[in-house]
């Protein structure tokens, strides 16, 4: 009898779940929790990044400074002259890596805000640093994606996207996702052992504003369930690991939404950079840091 019941249960469960887990807006958003302004008075905020303690850093690209939110919840200057640094991310060595486009270089800032040059003579917009310390960064003006090996050798690993902008790895780091602002797609690539990229595919299809052919897809972030979030003109669009659009989170204000990251001690507060202001909201989802995730997860 008990075996029969277990079989019945297995059949019921197995036969009613043809589609993979649903990941709707209600699985991410908390009722009654809207956007709260965290800081304002900037020109163009970008590059939200989270350190090991869960603190938020961000850049003011045109103001040419890097800021962080201090323990009192106030913005303070971390780097006073950032030379137009755009994308930011913390690496496994605890340093803050940035796309210092005003000097055409990739840099890494230590805890005191002192920078070291990682690569020179490159244009860049956004970057990711892998668990092993390798770097991928986008070069929109030249329609290409660069790779810097852990040994510091740089090379172009993809050409041909209209305007490659934000980029993120899946948690296991076997797939790289790149936003092409000029299309309605995020492209997925397989990451090869030597850092090269293969099997480029328009895996995620973005919703477009009425009458537009360009999504304006900018920065991205990823959560522990494998959802990818991308800042677009319509709002923060998010996708499940099968590439299906699951929701569009409204922008906090009617201005350019540039990027997002999960921060806070438990990485369960979603921060977005939106033109002159930075906003946050508590969510049910939880972010990841690549250097926290062990291989195979």
């Amino acid at each position: 009898m008990s075996r029969f019941l277990v079989m019945t249960v297995l059949l019921l469960v197995g036969s009613t779940c043809l589609s993979a887990q649903e990941m709707a807006l209600r699985d991410v958003l908390i009722d009654g929790e809207g956007w709260q302004m965290v800081a304002q008075g900037f020109t163009f905020t970008e590059g939200p990044a989270v350190d090991l303690q869960g603190n938020l850093y961000f850049t003011d690209v045109f103001g040419s400074k890097i800021h962080r939110i201090n323990a009192q919840g106030k913005a303070e200057v971390f780097v006073d002259q950032s030379f137009g640094t755009n994308g930011l991310i913390f690496g496994p060595d605890g340093r803050l890596y940035g796309c210092q486009n005003g000097k055409k270089r990739i840099v890494a800032y230590d805890a005191a805000g002192e920078s070291k040059t990682i690569a020179e003579d490159v244009q860049s917009n956004d970057l990711v640093v892998t668990r092993t310390g390798a770097i991928y960064f986008t070069d929109p003006e030249n329609h290409q994606i660069w790779y810097i090996s852990p040994q510091g050798e740089k090379r172009v690993v993809d050409r041909g996207l209209g305007y490659p902008n934000g980029l993120k790895l899946w948690a296991d780091q076997g797939t790289l996702v790149v936003a092409d602002m000029k299309t309605d797609h995020l492209f997925a690539f397989r990451v090869e052992a030597d850092g090269s990229l293969k099997f480029k595919q328009p895996y995620y299809t973005l919703r477009l504003p009425p009458g537009k052919t360009e999504s304006g897809a900018d920065g991205m972030t990823i959560d522990s369930a494998g959802r990818i979030y991308v800042a677009t003109q319509l709002g923060l669009q998010f996708f499940d690991p099968q590439g299906r659009l699951c929701g569009v989170i409204n922008k906090p204000q009617n201005a350019w939404l540039s990027n997002a990251v999960f921060a806070g001690k438990d990485l369960d507060t979603l921060y977005v950079t939106c033109m002159n202001k930075v906003y946050k909201r508590k969510v049910k989802a939880q972010g990841i840091r690549y250097f926290d995730v062990s291989p195979g997860k």
């Binding site: 249960v9 019921l12 589609s19 076997g174 099997f199 595919q201 099968q242």
Partner: protein, 305 residues
Amino acid sequence: MNNLGLAAGGARLRALGTAFMVLAAMSSLGRAADDYQLGPDSQRQADVPEGTVTQAKWTSKVFDGTERDYWVYVPKQYDKAKPACVMVFQDGGSYVDKSKDFRVPIVFDNLIHKQQMPVTIGIFINPGVIPPAKPEEKPRPNRSFEYDTPSPQYADFLLKEILPEVGKSYNLTKKPEERAICGISSGGICAWTVAWERPEAFRKVLSHVGSFTNIRGGHVYPSLIRKTERKPIRVFLQDGSGDLDNLHGNWPLANQEMASALKFAGYDYRFEYGDGGHNGKHGGSLLPDSLRWLWSDVPATPAAK
């Protein structure tokens, strides 16, 4: 596809409770919702010759980098001197399984033997996966991309890769009305998309709990069908009132919209709407009837050459 893991741990106790309730409901109310049984045409019958099923692997260029299994069923009655009809199945591993809801090889054996459908080679294809470069990394699942995207890419994959490959070993028809395509859920909308995009190649569609919802934009078909000159497609749709209602859409309403649009535009269609959920039980029990109807315009015994 396989969610058996959900029954593990604490969920197993809750699921057992649910099973008790379901069983109690079934015994107190007579026929419960979604209680569909397989008929004799879905059971192995003595004296009916069995076709052969062979498994193979395919690495695609159309879906670059994807790998997948597929199976080819060849009926005993196949004669290499005569082009055989073709029927393609998405999620092929499930449709070809002789112990699951559809058990297509058994149904084909029975119907072909009774000359209730023509001699047909079945091609059962699993969705693609891009395997990771390193074993500790995750594969990129390609099922939703291949099945849910309303584009000609999956039809190209069949016509440029799979049919030519299977055609090396077997004499396959080139007539579009002798080519059918079938799928469940996202595989169902995929079947429709193949015929819609390439009616010169495929003209028979069988959809089980088809996802005519907005997973990747496929919810537009009812309106497209109404305002596009009719295409020569014969289509059988199955759905049930207990089907999904989620972030992508409402499956029962979407299938009713499809049926209504097909009727409006004058299509040769059938719609079977039951009380089942998002599974293959109703579609499986209907499979022999749906195949008889779908193939009824093709002679089961073509004139000898």
